[in-house]
Symmetry: C2
Subunit: 168 residues, 2 copies
């Protein structure tokens, strides 16, 4: 899929078919995360692939915004080392965005559940056995979509200024 099409057409998908995600696609998606840029190419990330029903169910029970993660065949946690680069949050977000684009390009749907600094990050960390010196940047739910939601964006003319900040 063309990169502009992937960027333009990707949406947050929260409803999934029961159909499993093929291993080959999952690998391609994780590869996309792996090739994200990071500050000083430090790659301060790990990916946890979550398929165990009990683990997904525990995560869903503590995450008010991620309660659909147990409805997804697969979850991915992007875990960062906060000391691992000068900009670990940005690095983990770039990896997450690559994962979302790759999922869409493979006809899968995904939703970025923002975790870093949220009320439930600590509890999710316990469930996933994540050490105290690591953080969950994002949880991503993943599966074949059963919905195709529409979302708009603010026009470019409202966002762009030249050489100096302008509030429009």
């Amino acid at each position: 899929m063309d990169v502009f099409e992937a960027i333009r057409e990707r949406r947050s998908i929260r409803q999934y078919q029961a159909k499993a995600v093929p291993e080959e696609k999952l690998t391609q998606i994780l590869e996309a995360g792996r090739w994200a840029p990071s500050s000083g190419n430090r790659q301060p990330w790990k990916f946890i692939v979550i398929k165990d029903e009990e683990v997904k169910s525990k995560l869903a029970s503590i995450a008010p915004f991620g309660r659909f993660i147990d409805k997804a065949p697969v979850g991915i946690a992007v875990v960062i080392d906060p000391q691992g680069s000068s900009h670990p949050v940005e690095d983990g977000a770039a990896a997450t965005q690559n994962i979302l684009l790759a999922a869409h390009a493979l006809d899968l749907g995904a939703c970025w559940i923002g975790s870093y600094g949220s009320d439930y990050e600590g509890r999710a960390r316990e469930i996933l056995g994540i050490p105290h010196d690591r953080r969950i940047l994002s949880l991503i739910s993943l599966g074949y979509p059963t919905e195709s939601p529409e979302k708009g964006r603010v026009e470019l003319s409202e966002l762009v200024s030249c050489d100096r900040y302008a509030d429009k």
Copy 2:
């Protein structure tokens, strides 16, 4: 360009031809930023397109890691509203990553200069007239490349675990 090719082949480019960036390409690149996901679709970002030589030169003079920004025909500052969503840093990073992928797909080169929380963010903010309640998430230098650097990544087998965190 295929999205996987863009993700896999994109590199940080710090050396540029003098050739200008066509307006049409610049618009496509900013569009890619605009269509990034954000927490609650709040889109807490603005983009400053920097072409003025004096502005670029001032930025280069204060930024130890961004000293090549005055060598690039164009700079883009991704400015975020820290109160604008629940995860503004991640949102701005997703927009930045989209911009980098779009640039590569259009045969341009770009470099993500991490700015948020850096020593020079405050001075860059002054130069660009950015109010105190807004932050610079990233500066991006942009132009036709004169280099094609190679950078590797840690293997996927070192990064991925199943259902539980594992340090490998």
